[in-house]
């Protein structure tokens, strides 16, 4: 809903009463909260869940749209969500509420930046096995709301497997507890699952409790340069069929890599880099290093590198730069495919074989997740639309689906964002029950607006 200037002024006054005038973002700084080329009408930073809930009540009373904001790293992910409402920024709610090291749990405010959390946990020799690539800026709440994950999901899975409890400010303006702090908990409906990946459509996550793991005794990453994609995929299949349980199996194309990684591994433009990380007991890591090198040799590797210590850390830091920025000088699309494990080669190969565009690939190959960056020459944005369509077809043939994540707004408008499913109707009913006014990121309702 668009606000008239007069009611907007009144709303700003009310917001200032709730969060304090200094926590209402002034008009000239609102562009920091823009996305899809639009500024929101207002942005506020509540101090705690009570204030967040009060903003929700105000929005409910006035019929104003609410967009929840964490670190802002996912605001430009499709579908386009117009900025015709209030941005509810959780950045101030960034405290560590309880670190219970003996029970391997931590409870933090939603605004806590992921890397900050990991630094705190590391002091207790613990970590949260959730490593989204934008962790330097992304927050706990944003990571959960967007169900973000990273390379180590191969072993540790995703947010749904780590969140024990949450607190959520609802569209009704209540603050509710979901779950708790025990690993096993079947008391009541498992509401956590609905809020994870809900993209701010059902309310604002204000705090979360996670299960943690002790930092492994040893770790090593085997980086393997393969002349072709098929060899890298065959190697991943062999690893999955073995007794090894590595934490990552990422395949990256030359074009996806930052320059520093290309040169460290002397990767040729036609080659692919496979990164397999092994964590655990010293003996188990040593064994996996040997076995991975053997498997790599058998699968046609050109060169095998083994990294540990600071080199390994630096490698994974650089890995986070992959697809961190979209090309600015020409139209480009970031697309995410999710396919059957045995079909990763078919889909990834199809992506790299697209004609008339340039492509780059970064895959969590052991999970069937393939990210593709597709770029066209200036003025040929139409080719992105065709590429999205082709890849969606291909993903369906591979048992899965493909979601365009980022694209110029004009081209995005011509793409099918949501893959066909028969459960969107029920999702819309849940949205309608939990947000009857349809005020919370309405454009992100699963399946699109009915």
């Amino acid at each position: 809903m668009t606000l008239t200037e007069r009611s907007l002024e009144a709303t700003r006054t009310r917001l200032a009463e709730i969060v304090g005038a200094e926590n209402v973002v002034p008009g000239d700084r609102l562009s920091a909260y823009s996305a899809f080329g639009e500024k929101p009408v207002a942005a506020v930073l509540p101090a705690d869940e009570g204030e967040a809930a009060e903003v929700a009540r105000l929005a409910d009373a006035e019929g104003v749209t609410v967009i929840v904001w964490g670190g802002g790293t996912k605001q430009s992910i499709l579908p386009v969500q117009p900025r015709d409402g209030i941005v509810l920024c959780m950045a101030r709610m960034n405290s560590t509420i309880e670190l219970d090291a003996a029970n391997l749990t931590v409870t933090v405010g939603a605004g806590k930046v992921m890397d900050d959390l990991q630094r705190e946990l590391a002091q207790a020799r613990l970590f949260l096995p959730l490593d989204p690539v934008d962790s330097a800026r992304s927050t706990v709440g944003g990571t959960l709301a967007t169900n973000s994950s990273g390379p180590n999901r191969l072993l540790y899975r995703t947010a749904r497997d780590m969140v024990l409890g949450m607190r959520v400010a609802t569209p009704q303006g209540t603050v509710v507890r979901v779950g708790g702090k025990t690993v096993k908990d079947v008391a009541g409906y498992d509401m956590k699952k609905l809020y994870i990946g809900s993209w701010g459509t059902l309310g604002a996550i204000t705090a979360a409790t996670f299960r943690l793991l002790p930092i492994a005794e040893a770790s090593a990453t085997v980086a393997i340069a393969f002349p072709d994609l098929g060899q890298a995929c065959a190697m991943v299949s062999a690893v999955l069929a073995s007794f090894m349980r590595p934490s990552t199996a990422d395949i990256l194309s030359h074009a996806a890599l930052p320059a520093s990684m290309r040169s460290s591994f002397d990767l040729k433009p036609s080659e692919y880099l496979l990164l397999v990380q092994a964590e655990g007991a010293v003996e188990a890591v040593e064994r996996q290093k040997r076995e991975l090198a053997e498997l790599a040799g058998r699968n046609g590797a050109r060169e095998i590198f083994t990294l540990d210590g600071a080199d390994e850390k630096e490698l994974w830091r650089q890995r986070k730069e992959v697809f961190a920025r979209m090309p600015e000088e020409r139209p480009a699309m970031l697309i995410k495919g999710s396919v059957l494990l045995k079909k990763v080669y078919d889909f990834a190969g199809g992506l790299m074989g697209l004609q008339g565009v340039e492509t780059a690939l970064a895959a969590h190959a052991g999970n069937g997740i393939v990210y593709g960056l597709v770029a066209a020459e200036p003025g040929q944005g139409e080719r992105l639309v065709a590429a999205a369509d082709r890849l969606q077809q291909l993903a369906a043939d591979c048992g899965g689906f493909a979601l365009p994540l980022k694209a110029p707004r004009l081209e995005a408008g011509k793409m099918r964002i949501w893959p066909p499913r028969d459960d969107y109707g029920l999702m819309r009913k849940i949205k309608a029950e939990l947000d009857p006014g349809n005020l919370w990121s309405p454009a992100r309702v699963p399946g699109g607006r009915a």
């Binding site: 090291a101 003996a102 029970n103 391997l104 899975r157 995703t158 497997d161 609802t170 009704q172 209540t174 603050v175 509710v176 507890r177 979901v178 708790g180 702090k181 025990t182 690993v183 096993k184 079947v186 008391a187 009541g188 409906y189 498992d190 509401m191 956590k192 699952k193 609905l194 990946g197 809900s198 793991l213 299949s237 007794f243 090894m244 349980r245 007991a281 003996e283 188990a284 064994r287 999710s338 396919v339 059957l340 494990l341 045995k342 069937g368 899965g400 689906f401 949501w418 499913r421 459960d423 969107y424 109707g425 029920l426 999702m427 009913k429 849940i430 029950e433 939990l434 699963p446 399946g447």
Partner: protein, 467 residues
Amino acid sequence: MTREQLIEELARIVGKEDVLHSRRDLLVYEYDSTPDLFQPDVVVFPANAAEASAVMKLAAREGLTVVPRGAGTNLSGGTLALKGGIVMGCSRMTRVLEVDPGNERVVVEPGVVNLDLQNMLAPLGYLYAPDPASQKVSTLGGNIGENSGGPHCLKYGVTTNHVYGLEVVLHDGEVIHTGGPCEDNPGYDLTGAIVGSEGTFGFVTSMTLRLMRVPESIKTMLAIFDSLEDSGNAVSDIIADGIVPATLEIMDRIVTWAVEESYHSGYPLDAEGILIIELDGLKDGQDRQAERIVEICKKNHVRDIKIAQSDAERAALWAGRKGAFGAVARVSPMYSVQDGTVPRTRLAETMMKVVAIAERHNVKVGTVAHAGDGNLHPLIMYNPKDAEEVKRVHEAGKEILKLCVEMGGTLTGEHGIGIEKQDSMPLVFSDDDVAVMRRVKRAFDPSNRLNPDKILPREKAAEGVGV
């Protein structure tokens, strides 16, 4: 519609022999593993999603309640037909539809028994991780309904962590597919919402489950303690040392005694606390980890600790633990089983307080616990003919639940709320918390006909009465 007409209509959908309606047949479906009895009007066994959908449409048209049912091992009353109506069983849907180790997936119908799936997968070198103690009889459909756990959940998680997708018949007969064979499906995680919803959201007709490679090496250890507190401290110390075993189970003296009577697993009768510890994974480094565990147990005054030397020895150790409920039932035909969960570090303290509660109420209680998860099962034994004792058991049970919540835990780790604990929900959840759950229930079941009046507190309890 008369009962006769309903039976006739159902017979037209599923076939005459798969509709049960005689008083004698219904007796078998009026109970689960809780003491209350509720007889359904009719029990029906669809063969597939189309038949289940037709039954659901008929129920919707006639305003009848539908209660999904697996093998009936439910421990919280979740499968009882409170309002009569239709019980929909899954015992005709027993096919394994697709075994696909390469994609680490299996597609099964809900009537497949958990252990039957395990036995089918083992020769292929794969397993399905959730292994509830009831796995010999409980169905995978029932496991989905309850979000079942089991001893191996410490490392690998519970049922919900191993389900990729579901085919579900909704309240109006619509058939939908949640999740899918691939990961990160777009939209809300309906699969996650349905798992553990105790049959109140729909009837599951097929499920895509996650397969894992069997571990290369398993090491099972038995540690015997003269004090419950020492055994509990050993559990905390093992985890604090950075070791994540596949399982960490604890049994107290009374359960040990009952188990030994039945299984002769070689547990000493005078032990106050027995731990079963299992490591799995690559064999490399495992011996050293086992030695470290021995050291930690010794530091906590272990009396004796041994490592199973063969598969047969391992099986013997487990037979006792998995048969614990049955063994207690041999000693005391009726017992009330609790399922509270507490933060792991408070488990020993909680178990000792449970003993004190039992003494105060003059009831006999033995406890077995998934110690690594802080999930404890006090079994309160009683004679159902002794009304006064039944009352004391009830009081003790409520006090144990309250204790678990006070310890920072919750009401149930894996058995569900059902009807048994619905009035205790306000111990953990506020009216606002419950209101959100009610909204979700309404989205799935607007006319409240799917396993109605379960899980969420009855309205009077929500106002604070009856807790």
